[in-house]
Amino acid sequence: MAATDAALPEGQPHHGGTVLVRRHSGLVRITHWINVLAIFFLLISGLQIFNATPALYIGQYADFDHPVMSLTAKNTPSGPVGITQIGGLHFNTTGLLGLSMYDGQWAARGFPGWATVPSYQDLATGRRWHFLFAWLFAINGAVYLIAGLAGGHLWRDLVPTDSDLLGIGRSIVEHAKLHFEHVRQYNVLQKLAYLGVILVLIVLVLAGMTMSPGLDAAFPFLVDLFGGRQTARTIHFICATLVVLFVVVHVVMVLISGVWNNLRSMITGRYAVSAESEAHVD
């Protein structure tokens, strides 16, 4: 049904038995697309910043000999290789992580040039991109959260109801079968995913703030919250990874559960649902 319900007149039953409803408020739509822009730039500038020390540590200070994760390059008799180390595991990631091609030559870099801004190694400029979009993201997120709490969007649309939670098993089965209901409300897995990513993003921002020596002096509890600046940096990275995973799953779900309907609902607000489901709502 994805390709056929692109331009339905609102409110009228369609031959497929669908009606258009207003699904996303203007505020949700605007903050969503600002988020897309901000998170994209935060990610690619964040990878640039990570590349300045392509390793993660736990604790108050960096125990250089014991990173929990690192991306390194080393020479071997058969040429240079890129190594990704996570805990006690080592993977050969030549070409992608640790060692990648840049301008036709092998370069020892954590993440490759095509994934960073600027594409060449430049921490100072990466930081400028990062802070610019960090503020856009923070202000946008604050507007969303305040409006969502005050206006009820978070409680009404995102917090699962008891019956949602009881039906979680059925919802998982439906998702696994790639069978998607088109109704006004989010299903329980959507609610949990959206609430979850909001939580992850809040932790991510706090962990980012904890990396600041200035903010740590102003708000000493930040360091205690994360158990050290280096742990905070690791958590910042893990949260960013979770956000990337969320985005991948989110985009796949948008594509396979009716791409035009989903895109239209996040642009114009209008979403085609089964007329039957709306009859129940009324």
Partner: protein
């Protein structure tokens, strides 16, 4: 009004993949060009760091202290970064004699310029603090620093009312240039210069400060990133403006694109 000619899902996805890779390639070049544009750097990219500075200035009281740790928290290995063994002749000469001839010159916009030997500085009240050193590169080390509060030194020379910044000129040349703009220097606001944890350190981890970490004298400003904490200090001057010094941005790394405030 009705657009019925929609691409099939397969074609749509294929188109998406092709345009995405083209966009990535074109986007990389475009973003690199923006990253190098002076106008864009100054007027757009810098906005985030300007807000950082304003917000941190708002929340950081003069009395807000950086955390001080215990002996048990000290890093086993404290990384030395930037210059680690300056080869500038004036520095080598002093190092050869174990800095016995070292004199810290303090001048500029002050009532009575003075010179301090290391013995003079050690004779002043000392402050010892175990603090976390945060490098802009992302790593941290914890060390124990002993020195004299910069405020005590500045009180002795008495700043003139027009003084707004404190300039630290260093012995080390971190980048070879023809016009001496590769020499390390830093500037600080008076608020940070007079902060109780801002010290001129001559000792580290209960030893005399060693050459890799900035002997004979280095700055500690514990609420900033590491590059603000000049090593190998040659002289200190009170100034009213740093735009005429070196490349005009108030520090060696600031001249190379890093933020002056450096609180995050």
């Amino acid at each position: 009004m009705l657009t019925r000619r929609l691409p099939s899902r397969r074609n749509f996805l294929r188109g998406l993949a092709v345009s995405a890779s083209a966009a990535v390639l074109a986007g990389c070049d475009r973003l690199d060009a923006l990253s190098q544009s002076d106008w864009f750097r100054k007027n757009v990219l810098h906005v985030g760091e300007d807000i950082n500075t304003a917000v941190q200035r708002f929340f950081l009281k003069p009395t807000s202290l950086a955390r001080e740790f215990s002996e048990a928290d000290i890093s086993k290995k404290f990384k030395a970064n930037g210059s680690t063994n300056p080869d500038d002749p004036a520095y080598r000469a002093l190092a050869a004699n174990n800095f016995a001839d070292y004199r810290l010159k303090v001048g500029g916009l002050v009532e009575n310029p003075m010179e301090f030997s290391l013995a003079d500085l050690r004779a002043m009240p000392a402050r010892t603090q175990i603090t976390r050193h945060d490098c802009v590169e992302g790593w941290s080390c914890i060390g124990k620093w002993t020195g004299v509060q910069l405020a005590l030194v500045l009180d002795k020379v008495k700043l003139k009312p027009e003084a707004r910044f404190i300039l630290f000129t260093c012995f080390d040349t971190l980048e070879q240039t023809l016009d001496d703009t590769g020499r390390y220097y830093e500037t600080h606001a008076l608020e940070d210069a007079f902060h109780p944890q801002t010290i001129l350190a001559y000792g580290m981890n209960d030893n005399v400060l060693d050459i890799p970490h900035g002997a004979p004298l280095r700055l500690r400003t514990e609420r900033t990133l590491g590059y603000k904490m000049a090593k190998y200090i040659r002289s200190i001057d009170a100034i009213d403006d740093y735009s005429k010094i070196s490349r005009g941005n108030g520090g060696f790394w600031e001249d190379r694109g890093y933020d002056w405030y450096a609180g995050i």
